[in-house]
């Protein structure tokens, strides 16, 4: 029988983290921005049907980078968690904080106990009545959780992209402004100046969906024409 080599826990965790980071760095970035009209979620994604951004609950949305099958299973688990919670208690008892901590536990457990960590990074966003009440949580592959202010950038060249967003971010940005800033930031690592509207996946959590659309569900996916139109509004 072959003898197993001893690997220190430090080394093991480091290897796992490096592995997960590499997987995530291959992916394209996602930007989540809080703005005056709500929270904009923007991703570079040429596929019209495989989404990186999704609705979780009334005021809660999800965005992810990394391996599609892994974050998709996490998104579905999040929808189940939120729907069961809202059904058994009340709709207002479903919060981004609760969901984010469940995600953190799941990711942490997989990171330490499973064969291979999840190669994903997630953002959980909850829109409030005012911008101060917005919540943006960022979760990494090892279960770390961070409460971000204003915006979250994840994915391949997150630092470069984040620099551009930080440079242009203001609390009173409109939805169109936030979308333009995000698309500009996402294009930083490309040779082109701007991404075409068809290569962008975008959604918004409206700040007051009840008065605007008569629905308690704040999540709205933006159609390609709508994205192009908002991006073209540059003046």
């Amino acid at each position: 029988m072959t003898q197993q080599f001893y690997v220190s826990p430090e080394q093991l965790m480091k290897d796992r983290a490096d592995f997960a980071r590499k997987g995530i760095a291959r992916g394209r970035s996602v930007v989540v921005i809080s703005c005056a009209d709500g929270i904009a979620l923007v991703a570079e994604n040429p596929s019209p049907s495989l989404h990186k951004i999704g609705e979780i609950y009334d005021k809660i949305a999800f965005a992810a980078v990394g391996k599609y099958n892994e974050f998709e299973s996490l998104r579905q688990a999040g929808v189940r968690y939120a729907d069961v919670r809202g059904y058994s208690y009340d709709r207002e008892d479903v919060t981004a904080r609760g969901l984010a901590s469940v995600y953190a536990q799941s990711l942490g457990a997989v990171f330490t106990a499973e064969q291979k960590p999840f190669e994903v990074e997630l953002a959980v966003a909850e829109v409030g009545h005012t911008q101060v009440e917005d919540h943006l949580y960022r979760l990494t592959f090892d279960g770390s959780i961070a409460d971000e202010n204003g915006f979250v950038v994840m994915g391949g060249l997150a630092e470069q992209v984040a620099e551009v967003v930080a440079g242009g971010w203001k609390a009173d940005l409109s939805l169109a402004g936030a979308l333009r800033l995000a698309v500009k930031a996402l294009a930083t690592d490309k040779d082109v100046d701007a991404l075409p509207g068809t290569a962008v996946e975008a959604a918004v959590l409206d700040r007051s969906p009840e008065s605007g659309r008569g629905s308690r569900r704040a999540f709205r996916r933006l159609r390609a024409e709508e994205i192009t139109q908002l991006l073209a509004g540059e003046a």
């Binding site: 989404h51 892994e70 299973s73 929808v79 189940r80 729907d83 069961v84 059904y87 629905s215």
Partner: protein
């Protein structure tokens, strides 16, 4: 979420919220319980629901009364609910169970939409509701029956459609109009006389309110329009643009003119 390993999640994967509850939290389902032997204490019952189609959509209306034996349990109960953006359901029968089944059905449709990223077809929604009513069959056999009426706009066909159910979950598509509940026999009679194929939306609302008026006239478990408390039926219309609740103001005007014309006619029966 307990075991987040991807393989485990995949085996758990279902687009149905009811199936998910059945596996993970069966105690949360409104049905699925074995009742002990004994008498069921009186519980509130919801009664008359009417629905009718008109060019471009469908409409559903319910009165506001719940009864418990010969006592009025509530004057404010709502029996017609939006199921999702393009469908509504009305419920007659045991009020508590019916409201819970409605809630479950609303989550079921929204859950499917979020997981799959697309709306369920109207036939799919109608079948899911049938399965839930069948799930309630053991309770129905103890006397706690729930009978829904379902209406929605079929995006694919571009028409409004109506479905009725029996306690076994049997689903029947209805044409033109239908009514359920203890006052339904009287409402059906009114609908037969008042319904025309070319009704406008406003006329259709008036027809539904008048059918409920007739049901309330002869059925003690159905409440009529209440000008003292300013209570009017709950009416929803569903068209290509989605489900809309008809405003109290519109209903007050319509109910007012019906009461006026009936008073003017001065007839006894």
């Amino acid at each position: 979420m307990q075991d987040p390993a991807a393989g485990h999640l995949a085996t758990q994967a279902t687009s149905s919220f009811t199936e998910h509850l059945q596996r993970s939290r069966p105690e949360l389902l409104p049905f699925n319980q074995v009742l002990p032997a004994g008498q069921i204490p009186p519980v509130p019952h919801a009664t008359t629901i009417v629905a009718l189609s008109y060019p471009g959509g469908v409409l559903m209306a319910g009165d506001r009364r719940a009864t418990m034996g010969n006592v009025i349990a509530s004057r404010h109960i709502e029996k017609v609910f939006p199921a999702d953006d393009y469908s509504v359901l009305g419920i007659a029968g045991t009020a508590g169970l019916a409201i819970d089944i409605t809630r479950l059905f609303q989550v079921e449709l929204e859950h499917y939409e979020k997981i799959e990223g697309t709306l369920l077809s109207l036939d799919g929604k109608a079948n899911r509701l049938g399965a839930m009513i069948r799930g309630n069959l053991p309770m129905a056999m103890q006397g706690l029956a729930v009978i829904p009426l379902f209406a929605g706009f079929d995006q694919a066909a571009g028409v409004g459609r109506l479905f009725s159910y029996d306690v076994t979950g049997g689903r029947y598509e209805e044409l033109e109009h239908h009514s359920v509940g203890s006052g339904s026999v009287f409402a059906r009679g009114a609908l037969k006389k008042l319904w025309r194929p070319s009704l406008t939306e406003d006329e259709a609302v008036a027809v539904a309110v008048e059918a409920l008026y007739d049901a309330a006239d002869d059925d003690s478990a159905t409440g009529g329009p209440d000008p003292v408390r300013q209570l009017w039926p709950v009416v929803y219309t569903v068209t290509r643009a989605g489900a809309r609740r008809v405003s109290e103001r519109e209903l007050a005007t319509i109910a007012g003119s019906i009461i006026e014309s009936r008073a003017a006619a001065g007839r006894e029966a």
